[in-house]
Amino acid sequence: MNQSELEKRLLEAFSEESEERLENLFSKLTELENVTRDDKRKEILEVVFREAHSLKGAARSVNLPPIESLCQSMETVFGLLKGDELPFSSHLFDRLHDAAKMVERYTLANKPARTGMLNEMTALEKQLEALTVPANSEKNEAPPEVELPAESAVQKAAEKESHDRFPVDQKVDQKNDNRSPGSDTVRISSSKLDALLLKTEELIVLKQFTGQLLIRLKDFQEDMETRSREHKKYYSKLSDHTGSQGGFRNLPEGIRDYLNLVTDNQRDSVERIKELVKTMEQGNRTVSTMVDDLLNDMKKTTLLPFSTLFAVLPRMTREIARDRNKSIELRLSGDETEIDKRILDRIKDPMIHIIRNAIDHGIESPDTRTLHGKTRTGTISIRVSQIESNRVEVTISDDGAGINIPALHAKAVKSGVIREADLGKLTEDDSLALIFHSGLTTSPLITEISGRGLGMAIVKETVENLGGRLKVENVTGRGTTLKLRLPVTQATFRGVLVSSAGRYFIIPNAQVQHVIQVRPADICRLENKPVIRIEQRAVGLVHLFEVLGQQVPPKEKKYNEQIGGEVYTAIILGSDEQQVAFVIDAIIGEQEVLVKSLGKQLGRVPLIAGATVLGSGQVVPVLNVRELILSAAEKDFFPAVATDLLSKTSPVEKRSVLVVEDSFTSRTLLKNILEASGYQVQTAIDGENGFGLLKSGAFHAVVSDVEMPRMNGFELTEKIRSNKATADTPVILVTSLDSREHRERGIDVGADAYIVKSSFDQSNLLEVLEQLMPS
């Protein structure tokens, strides 16, 4: 290795080392400023002294005198503080922060910029030196002269000692400072562990593969059994014909043997496939369990404590607070809680955003705080705690002014998220949820998010994409609390595999509202944009391939024109307040999905959240639903506005059904089935709720569960029958109670039909409903 290469490597090593030391220095400095206990102070001073000292040594070895001398100044100050020869002051801390920041800037700067910094550095050094003078002169005044040289000799000795005690390469010691090392701990580079984790995650593909194989095998088994039955039918017909019981004696020997052979083969194959399916089932189960267990353990191996994230927060908070002229104390707790490194990486920016928000909009200026009888220094506390085995909760709260709900309302009205008249309907939680509304920010869409204040919408999305949840609590005047619930390990989620213009995409189940069939007749136009009607609302209809900008397949181009009788599959995505129907080619299936990033080159691709690998090995993009909706809305119209227009302008009367069901899943299932068949559906969560709805609106039929809290299906039916206005409404009871008594009870109370869930398939319900519907 030649000289210049050696220098280069040394410099690289230095920048790595200095980054680490500075980070520690910054966080410890902030901590030091906030602690008051003397022993704790001493402890921290020891650390910062050592960091400055080691950094000085490192700078010397790569020949960076400006850093060396600035570190020397810091070291001197720390030394004095340690010996109680210098009082703590915020001015002092500001200078120390400046100095550390200067070192950082210098390290990161290129050569010409460095030369420009020299003056500034010398000035800083002078300031630091000036700070140490009064301390020294005070010492000078009081005690006899003799002590001074002795003192400095001690200091020198201490410095020499510290040289010996802390050799230049301290990375190892430093890390161990934070955590008590267990005796049976092994150090493995994180890149090796990451690679192992990736490979383990790949095994999910194997799991999917065996699962699919099993399904295909079972299909085959069914096929074989059908064929075998078919065979038996012919066989017995044939034996009837030939008149002999089972022997076919009338037939020529060759044919007889052949028939027997085929029969044996059939039986044999059916037996063997049955056995195969059984073995495959076992194998599949074993593989699944093993893969899940292994992955679970592997994930636990790669967990990191929150302290790695907490290290950067104090400094950042301090800088923002200083910039905004606010005084903030940051309290951190629970930093030993462990979480998946990738999750930790991804919530870093959201957390910083939340803290910035708290400082910007939450904590008041010191004067205002005094006015409201609060301490001048505001507090932001971040608490991490493990609430379940695979769930942590991060609580970020400030004692600031809280969210100003009227102001939020005004902004929401102004940006068209909500109409002024509807404000009254909002509950407090609804209002608070407005802060997560992407429509409330000015940025139109995606790619360039920096500084555009998409803020809380993205925070929420990031948390939700990680499988977490975000909640906001507010006490106006007293502060805001945000609660992030996060999975400890990166979880897989269920996703719907769809095809659009011949390509596959994954959509997270959580964001799929329903899947519907759209006939040309269902499509109306609103301000010249195609919409369909779902539960009194107009929902914009767009082709997914159009939004994605895929190559348009020519024959599907005119979806909104009247093409005779063609039916489209549309998937309705979004949340309750914002939905868009996307026309797709087809739903391929539903499956477990592990989202991966798109790699280092593709930082952020519009409309795409990541990618996943299917059981077949195929890579499939995972769609970003929030951006899809924004993008569709931009292309077409703003859904919230249209809702209202349509409900006034198009009085298309569909036949309406009330679904009464306490289970969320069954309710959704029923609703989807009925809506897919063109009924307009409203839902109720129990009999009482249902009866209330029945009184206020007309329904053509009621589909109800039997077992429900408050008022069960029998009671509901009785009530319906005894009420004049509803007495003629058909009632269908759908239930898992399959007993004669129950059926009879159902008939007694006046139900028109009684469908047992176990025999429940949609055609059955739809047929019955069709029969009972008033024409």
Binding site: T447, S597, Q601, L602, V605, P606, L607, V619, V620, P621
Partner: protein, 178 residues
Amino acid sequence: MNPDNDPRDARILSERARQLAREADPGYLSDNGLELVEFNLAEETYGIELKYIREIFVLKELTGLPGVPPFIRGIINVRGTIVSVVDLKQFFGLAETNAADSKQIIILSSQNMEFGILTDRIIGVRKRPKSAMQPPIPTLSGIRARHLKGIIDGRIAVLDGKKMLEDEQMQIHPERGF
């Protein structure tokens, strides 16, 4: 296999023979030699230093992505990690050949960047002394000139792996936080 059957095979073989003959070059032994992976792209031969290459990957399937520039041909799964694939012909604005893309992808990698490049054909790995490299022809301009480190043996364009990995145009919408 009879090489006479296909003139292309014959060409490949003779090229290979020439390269093998060259291996005895003193550059092979010298310390500061260049280890190059050579490949064809639009009828031209390119080289790229081995030290920037993570691996050569045989393509099974390429998944296209909407919303990315045309030179990003799609993404692949390399043992659990998703890697994007760049079409240098598009990136450099070279003529599109009729030949179908080969299945061989060179994956370039650094601390902060990683992508694969589609090749028409990978020729092999070869060591050459640094002295064999001449600076790029000054008449070359544009995006390709920026990524050219030099010409070796008067005919192989050596791409600058470091520059390619650091090129901002290669980076698609870097994530900049909030």
